[in-house]
């Protein structure tokens, strides 16, 4: 695991340097280079993330937690990651307003996805209240 972080940092530094060189000539190609490096770093991490999620699932099953909630939370994390990725890329390309729209849509979709969990929480609280 320790070797891999050195690998990722080395690749990111080399890519930054290359992007600086290419940016003087062709800014759009430098942008594509950065997108590529971002994607490949995430693809590198995806297997690790999968192991973490498997562990979380196992813990949740052992604790008798309803798996629907865990699934919703994982979906929310996925949406948050995609939205963050796209908004960072758009911001790098200089389109700040589009980036904030992507962030807004990510937030709205997350809220819509969390409706079942929120409903359960509110019902539980209402039951707790002395009538």
């Amino acid at each position: 695991m320790a070797i891999e972080i050195i690998k990722i940092v080395a690749i990111a530094l080399v890519a930054t340097f290359l992007a600086l060189i290419v940016k003087e000539q062709k800014p759009n190609l430098a942008f594509l280079l950065i997108v590529f490096v971002g994607c490949s770093i995430f693809l590198f991490l995806a297997d690790k993330i999968y192991e973490i999620i498997l562990m979380l699932e196992k813990i949740a099953v052992n604790a008798n937690v309803n798996t629907v909630y865990l699934e919703t939370i994982l979906k929310i994390i996925g949406i948050a990651y995609i939205a963050e990725f796209a908004s960072q890329i758009t911001k790098d390309a200089g389109q700040g307003s589009l980036a904030s729209k992507i962030e807004l849509s990510g937030k709205i979709l997350i809220l819509a996805m969390a409706i079942p969990i929120l409903t359960v929480i509110i019902e539980t609280i209402i039951q707790m209240l002395p009538s």
């Binding site: 062709k26 280079l33 997108v35």
Partner: protein, 67 residues
């Protein structure tokens, strides 16, 4: 899964070569050829990056969204 370091250098190399060709063709006076070279270089890189982005989205779907 390893990171394809080759493709990073490929993208940077194509960028530099395209910029070089653009300058040369511009100075020779073939401005339209220079535009075409830039466009094709861009499309080539865009194709590579688009396939990786599609790969990334598939991975996110399979890891987080259970599909």
């Amino acid at each position: 899964m390893g990171i394809d370091v080759d493709i990073i250098f490929k993208i940077a190399g194509v960028g530099l070569v395209v910029a070089f060709l653009h300058t040369i063709l511009d100075q020779v006076g073939k401005k339209e050829y220079a535009q075409w070279v830039t466009l094709f270089g861009f499309i080539y890189i865009l194709f590579m990056v688009a396939s990786v982005v599609e790969d990334l989205f598939q991975k996110i779907k399979s890891v987080f969204l259970f599909q």
